[in-house]
């Protein structure tokens, strides 16, 4: 955890250099990295362009025909004669389209939650590490409280409160943001701990002392001098957290605290699909689960590789 001290200028250019050559070089020589990056990119792109790719709009209830329900993949429905590449679910929704749209929501929740956790964690970590004293104690105890409340619980409680204070018609829109905040809140502690540790190490170094002597504001010192030095571990945590956040959303769905069923995420689709595991409509569970697996797997592999690549001592 203890990073080797380096003067400020070297630190910055090392970061730049790493990006320019080392990482890129390592990337070119790692088939795992390239494949997982490609898969992640394809999934992200198909989520972004879902409205263009998807043959149906599963979020528009007016276009659904319930009689299309439970059509097996590639077969024609026995009432309507329509057929669907990956079949349909219990509502007659095209599973392929639903996955694309669900991916969109899952990725959005994932990125936003990690972004939220990152901003919160880095800010609090920097402050705790730099200011120290009572402020640090308070922040780190709050972090303890946060860890004490299991993420699932935090989400359920926040969900309850949000429901209590929003009028019913906005609740579905709010649901997504509540998920983001809930997952983000359960994740910021990691960032804060890493950043705080690194900040404490950096704080005592000459260049920070020098910057302080020439009268730079604490905020400037933290943002310009300390932050760049902790970006690599933050990036690694962020990547792994992304996969975790997407899985967490799915877990919350199981407990009934997920995206609304009319606008399902991958997790909601899996929750719905698991009730058809024994009834033979395997495709309702199988395809969303596979998508989630492939997404989480490639993001995880990418994070793994990134950790090794950004850690010069491991090469």
């Amino acid at each position: 955890m203890t990073d080797t001290p380096a003067p400020k200028t070297v630190a910055r250019s090392r970061l730049a250099m790493t990006w320019d050559s080392d990482v890129a070089h390592a990337f070119r020589h790692s088939p795992v990295a390239m494949i997982s990056f490609a898969v992640t990119a394809i999934l992200i792109l198909s989520a972004v362009f879902a409205p263009l790719i998807a043959p149906h709009d599963p979020f528009n209830p007016a276009t659904l025909n319930l009689m299309n329900g439970f059509t097996p993949p590639g077969e024609a429905n026995m009432f309507t004669g329509e057929s669907f590449v990956l079949g349909t679910d219990d509502q007659g929704r095209d599973v392929f389209s639903t996955i694309l749209y669900g991916l969109r929501i899952s990725l959005f929740v994932g990125f936003a939650a990690v972004g939220f956790a990152m901003v919160l964690g880095i800010t609090l970590g920097l402050i705790a590490g730099y200011v120290g004293g009572l402020v640090e104690t308070i922040i780190m105890r709050v972090a303890d409280v946060q860890l004490t409340f299991p993420a699932i619980l935090v989400a359920m409680l926040i969900f309850g409160i949000a429901k209590g204070i929003t009028p019913p018609e906005y609740r579905n829109d709010v649901a997504i943001w509540v998920l983001i905040i809930a997952i983000g809140l359960s994740d910021w502690v990691q960032f804060a701990r890493v950043v705080r540790g690194a900040t404490m190490v950096e704080k005592s170094k000459e260049y920070v002392q020098a910057a302080r002597l020439i009268g730079r504001s604490p905020a400037a010192i933290m943002l310009r001098h300390i932050l760049p030095n902790v970006l690599s571990p933050v990036l690694v945590i962020a990547t792994i957290s992304l996969a975790l956040a997407i899985i967490a959303e799915a877990t919350l769905s199981f407990l009934g605290v997920g995206a609304p069923p009319t606008e399902p995420s991958l997790g909601t689709l899996i929750r719905i699909g698991q009730s058809f595991l024994f009834s033979g409509e395997w495709w309702i569970l199988f395809f969303p689960a596979c998508t989630l697996l492939v997404l989480a797997l490639s993001v995880n592999l990418l994070g793994d590789w990134l950790r090794d690549a950004l850690n010069p001592r491991l090469r």
Binding site: T137, R141, D144, V145, L147, T148, F149, P150, A151, I152, L153, M156, L157, G160, I161, K163, G164, A243, I247, A250, T251, F254, L255, G267, I270, Q274, L277, F278, A289, L292, L293, L295, A296, L297, N300, L301, D304, R307, N311, R313, L314
Partner: protein
């Protein structure tokens, strides 16, 4: 050192109090227990009378204060759902969760360290890479799905293992244990794997990366140059030095094992406190929810404290 411990304990108590306050502030958003307690033919007066007798009309901090007052005397209240003392119910259910947590924690620790060392030593080997990739699949699916898939495979298709419950349990001085019967041990297998898989992966990856890091350091190189055997280097020196972060993470994960037991217990109908908590949420059983949250907090804060103190004990540099 003594004043450090004292300060940390004081902070821990404060944390507990805050957790309780937050919990009580949130309960009224979970639902209204009166609706789940009364049958469909209740009158408006019945509702009011029950609310009053349960103290639900009081502001939440008054409810919290009353809870604290009683809790300090060892009285955790009466469950709304079962109509029995909460302390009694939790005492009945805790062994199931603790045994499950212990087995899955041990599984995660042993497998995690073993596989971590293996994948670190054989860093470029095929099997090590295969294990690394496979372990990721385990953490790329939500816990509940893994549990259901395991049930489907091992209970329904193969019929090797039971699909739910603890099997036969034996009472040993007020503690119901599944360790002493064959069916009790068999019943532990699937839930433990489901619960421990994520932690195992985490520990394995941590051990691997710490080992790789330590093995690059000078003293290991010296040891190697001195002609120490590979085995001695790997286990006596490298592994030993990876243990501090492993202790930290395991300690923190122990708490999350208990938290994630909520999901596993629901899927496997495991009669522990996690399932109790889920039932309490569905029923808006406030005394049980409050007791569970406080219990988890005490455990987690305690674990945190112990890990911190262990840290100080292991690493002399932190003693200043």
């Amino acid at each position: 050192m003594v004043s450090y411990i004292f300060r940390r304990i004081l902070q821990s108590v404060l944390v507990l109090l805050v957790v309780g306050l937050v919990a009580f502030a949130m309960f009224r958003f979970v639902g209204d227990p009166v609706d789940t307690m009364l049958g469909q033919e209740r009158t408006v007066q019945d509702i009011e009378r029950l609310r009053e007798s349960l103290g639900l009309n009081d502001p939440f901090f008054v409810q919290y204060w009353n809870f604290l007052g009683r809790a300090l005397q060892g009285d955790l209240g009466i469950s709304y759902r079962q109509g029995r003392p909460v302390a009694e119910i939790i005492a009945e259910r805790l062994p199931a969760t603790l045994e499950l947590a212990a087995v899955s924690g041990t599984f995660a620790l042993l497998m995690g360290i073993g596989l971590g060392v293996f994948t670190a030593i054989r860093r470029h080997g095929f099997s090590a890479n295969a294990i690394m990739a496979l372990s990721l699949i385990g953490v790329s699916l939500p816990t509940f799905l893994i549990g259901i898939l395991l049930i489907y495979l091992f209970a329904v298709e193969l019929r090797w293992l039971p699909s739910f419950g603890r099997g036969e349990t034996v009472m040993v001085g007020g503690w119901s244990t599944g360790f002493l019967t064959q069916s009790g041990l068999i019943a532990l297998i699937l839930p433990s794997i489901t619960l421990g898989l994520y932690q195992m992966t985490l520990i394995m990856r941590l051990v691997r990366s710490e080992m790789l890091e330590v093995m690059r350091q000078d003293y290991i190189r010296f040891a190697r140059a001195r002609g120490l055997s590979q085995r001695a280097i790997h286990f006596r020196h490298a592994l030993k030095n990876t243990l501090v972060p492993v202790i930290t993470v395991t300690g923190l994960q122990l708490g999350s094992i208990i938290a994630f037991a909520i999901i596993t217990e629901t899927v496997f109908q495991w009669p522990g406190v996690g399932l109790l908590f889920i039932n309490a949420i569905q029923f808006v059983d406030i005394p049980v929810m409050a007791a569970y949250l406080m219990l988890i907090s005490v455990m987690f804060v305690g674990i945190n404290l112990i890990v911190d103190l262990l840290y100080v004990a292991i690493d002399p540099r932190l003693r200043s």
